[in-house]
Amino acid sequence: MKPPSENHELIRWLDGEMNAAERAAFEAQLAQDPALNREALEMQALSEGIRAHLPKEMVVPYGDFFNSQIQVRLAQMEVEEGARSSRFSASTVWQWLRQPWFAVAGAAAIAVISFLTLARDGHQADSQILSSYTPSAQVQARTFHDSDAQATVLMLDGLDAVPADRKVSGLNVHHSQTETEIAATSLYDASGSRLLTISRDSGGNPFFWQTSPRG
């Protein structure tokens, strides 16, 4: 006789896992094998006795520890799986490296990367417009960087044109002097003559002084 734990057919019969045909065939075998039949009856009685004395649901003792151990094991399995994948990847890469054409392609790639790295190191960072606000709704501000011009552009669209008959004149400012006490900046030409003085009026708008604010 097989040990009970090794008689899979008997266990399946006890657990009710057999279909009708399997159950009929196994019970016919029980009828012909008194020893097996006795073992089956003992096992059945034992099983029913256990079911009768144990609750259907039990709290797993040290459940947290149990769960943590499962998680640890799952993590170990993932690591082992990853190591297998790495070994596979490494061997695949090594096969690529052994290809004759790879040396040429690799040299070209290194040259390109080196060029780009050197170009990047020699390239200064560009100016940037981070945000813009146009108080007038009819004016739109567009910003972009123009690589050819090596400049950052803030394009104001929708501005009213300056009348063609207006004389737009420039100032050639040689130096300036700021009086922080009165928040005024005076601009001077190369001869030292004052071109203008700018400060802000009570409304915060720029104000050009015709004469020095100090008199």
Binding site: Q124, A125, D126, S127, Q128, I129, L130, S131, S132, Y133, T134, P135, S136, V139, A141, D146, D148, A149, Q150, A151, T152, V153, L154, M155, L156, D157, L159, D160, A161, V162, A164, R166, V168, S169, G170, L171, N172, V173, H175, S176, Q177, T178, E179, T180, A183, T185, S186, L187, R194, L196, I198, N205, P206, F208, S212, R214, G215
Partner: protein, 168 residues
């Protein structure tokens, strides 16, 4: 040489020193302590046009730190001629506002917001056209990388403001 008597010396010199302290400074000769700065910017008002006859004849030149300025402007603004109408090199004050005024018609107010990563300076810019602010921007200005501001049309061309951070 014989020195004057100490009492006489005090009677003459002390009132003079006191008078110097109390006297108002003369016009245009205020004692100015230079405020702390973050660097310098060069600002210019430029007239771009296709019609050479409309140029004003200004002979202003850009600084050496901005080579090929006209060529670079032409990459962005499709005009044949670029003329500097006015220019102004200005300190960027750390604590105070700075005005860049190459023209009364179009000028900038700058407030420093401190040094920028990778060099340059963080700025709050305001572009003014007389009494109207056209745009307010937060910007990072870096040396060698000018800011081109496309302004209003004038005649058959356009006014452009160029702002560039000078190398320290």
């Amino acid at each position: 040489m014989k020195w004057p008597h100490p009492v006489l010396f005090s009677l003459v010199i002390c009132p003079w020193v006191i008078a110097q302290d109390a006297a108002p400074s003369g016009a245009g000769t205020l004692p100015v302590a230079k405020p702390a700065t973050e660097g310098k910017v060069w600002g210019a008002l430029i007239f771009a046009t296709d019609d050479a006859a409309q140029l004003t004849g200004s002979q202003e030149k850009p600084p050496a730190s901005l080579p090929k300025l006209n060529e670079r402007l032409s990459k962005v603004f499709s005009f044949k001629h670029f003329e500097i109408l006015g220019q102004h090199q200005q300190d960027i004050f750390r604590e105070y506002e700075s005005w860049v005024v190459p023209s009364r018609d179009l000028f900038l107010k700058i407030d420093s917001k401190g040094p920028a990563d990778q060099g340059g300076v963080n700025l709050h810019l305001q572009v003014w056209r007389e009494q109207q602010v056209l745009v307010k921007s937060e910007a990072v200005l870096r040396p060698g990388s000018p800011l081109f501001i496309g302004g209003p049309k004038w005649k058959n061309g356009r006014l452009i403001f160029v702002l560039s951070l000078e190398q320290k």
